[in-house]
């Protein structure tokens, strides 16, 4: 691993992506969504003096969802262009002419864009904090909000890796569509596992057959192999009336993010190495 070369690619990617107008548009839209949450909270709660928790919940819901959703769009739009643009502009030739492998190039690109996305999340989180504190006071903000935003950032890093896979295999439009679909699916994979459990549950005393059990196993395998982005979703825990239950399996969630990202980068590198330049 040529770490200085990776750092150089990452640094350039960071600078280049940070100048992208899409990034500013999305960060701006997220901040506007945080403001919208403030307005919605005011509309929904009216003058009810007992409505403070509800107002805060609406602001937190709207803002955290916007950070996640618009952050995902940001990661996908920037990520799917990342490798493709370098190839189109032929700048990749000058980079690969240097002592850097294609795999290292991918890792550098990923690191640079992941840093941009994390920085964008920080800006968006600041916007959320301002609107939240405007309603509930600074004391209303707590560690649980920070944890939820942290995991949103981790989720977006995984989404960057997903986008990078498609960036090295497809054109930006196709890549963005595929990445978006996979990301959406990543929030619904639990249903596959639940479906597997449902079809193996006896109904009205009738025991399900062997095929149902095989199907359940296949569904479970798909559930595990597809990205499970719900692992990083602690947003509802933040706004729930139930407090965030700690300790969470933090180590496992972070290990999952690390392992899944590594696998995605391996796939991206695999395709990029076979790309005819």
């Amino acid at each position: 691993m040529n770490l200085p070369a990776i750092a150089a690619v990452a640094s350039n990617t960071f600078k280049e992506s940070a100048r992208n107008r899409i990034l500013y548009a999305i960060v701006g839209a997220t901040l506007a969504a945080c403001g919208l949450g403030y307005v919605l909270a005011a509309i929904s709660a009216g003058d009810d003096p007992t409505s403070m928790p509800r107002r805060l919940r609406i602001i937190a819901n709207t803002s955290l969802s916007a950070i996640s959703l618009l952050g995902t769009l940001c990661a996908i739009f920037l990520g799917t262009n990342l490798v493709y643009q370098e190839v189109e502009r032929k700048t990749v030739y000058t980079i690969l002419a240097r002592p850097i492998g294609r795999g290292e190039f991918i890792v550098g690109k990923f690191a640079g864009l992941a840093a941009v996305v994390v920085a964008a999340v920080l800006v968006m989180a600041l916007g959320f904090a301002v609107f939240y504190a405007l309603v509930g006071g600074i004391d209303a903000l707590s560690l649980k909000h920070a944890i939820a935003i942290f995991y949103t950032a981790v989720e977006l890093v995984v989404v960057v890796a997903i986008a990078l896979v498609f960036s090295s295999t497809a054109n930006p439009i196709e890549g963005a569509i595929f990445a978006f679909v996979l990301t959406l699916a990543g929030h619904a994979t639990k249903n596959l596992d639940a479906l597997g459990k449902e079809i193996t549950t006896p109904h009205a005393g009738v025991e399900p057959g062997a095929l149902a059990h095989v199907m359940a196993k296949v569904l479970h395998a798909i559930y595990v192999v597809l990205p499970n982005l719900e692992n990083f979703n602690l947003r509802e825990q933040v706004t729930a009336e139930k407090p965030l239950e700690l300790p969470m399996p933090h180590a496992e969630i972070l290990a999952y993010a690390g392992l899944y990202t590594a696998l995605l980068l391996a796939i991206a590198a695999f395709f990029f190495k076979r790309k005819t330049l």
Binding site: I43, A45, V224, V225, N231, E241, P249, Y256, L263, A266
Partner: protein
Amino acid sequence: MRFAKPIAFLLGVVGLFPLQARIDERKPERPSSLLYTPDRRLMKVIACGYGPFLADLVWIQSTGYVIREFRSGGSHIEHLYALYDVITELDPQYVDAYVMGAVFLSAIGNEPDRAIELLEKGEGRIAEVKGEMQEVTEGRVHPKHKERWKLLNETAAVHLVTYAGYATTLPERYEEIRTGGKLYLYAAKRYPLTEYPDAPPWYQKMGEGLTIRGGPNDPYRDMTPSQYYTVVEQVWLARVLVTPASSPLLKLYERRYAEIEARKVYEDVVAKMGRWKQKHGVAPTRFEDFYGKVPEDPLGVGYFLVDGKLVAPALDASVIERQLARDANGYHRANERWPENKAALVALAHREIPAWVWVDYDEKTGRVRAEPRPALVQPRGPK
């Protein structure tokens, strides 16, 4: 080491399985997204003309939510009223949503007052004016809606099944039965079969039976319990029959149906006991003396004779559980917190908990459970 990289990749994929299993095992259950259903006024704003579509989406979610909560065994379902309030706000003509919401509120959520509130939102308030039932406020469901009768049908059911089931004294129970009967009589007039062909044809007959025979001045007073239980049994049987076998609600319905069966046996035994006592001047001490055999309890726990009185621990536990759950929910609604302990909860119920009923109360969640303890049924002995 040609295969080192593919093997490492495969190991990585395999590693996802134990990792995901550990996360699933340890990550706290996600609270349902329904807990954050926004205020209904807000929903109207954001629906942008797609109210019925949104109502369907919330409806789909809500059924899963209620079933999950029901499976978890809670006696209180958070935001249940708000949920159906939102659905019916998005689509005011969604009759099934009013009815299903009321069934869930009264049968699972132990909130019959809110069930009535929801039904009144659809059909308007029906109250007795100058001795006759009348619509005193206007409902949201169109007066000509072909399924509107279902709302009144369920309102009568809440009085007959839920309120009458909670009643601790006979006059209170009669009052609820009479109200149910009057609603049936009103339904017979309001929803004639010529205009509402799906409405049940028995409203008039059933209403007459319940109102004429149900009151304290009724010459056939001793007939009322069995008549009442027949009606209640019909209500539950109808629910059992329309519920799919795979539905977790079926067990609840079957349980309530069995309770009514048990109550019928109970009333029968009490009636025979009374006749025997009248004849012999003393209370019987054995079932064989007046019943011929030990009565069989459809709830599987059994009946006992204690100090000359009939005791049914399973029936007592069921009624007490529902009464306490209703009181806990009412207290929570009024005070935004649960009663602080079991003693405070029992004090709300204004009734004594017999030794053969064990009550478990979680002051954090408001969950109430009552179980029969037949082993604790003992004669109190002479005072």
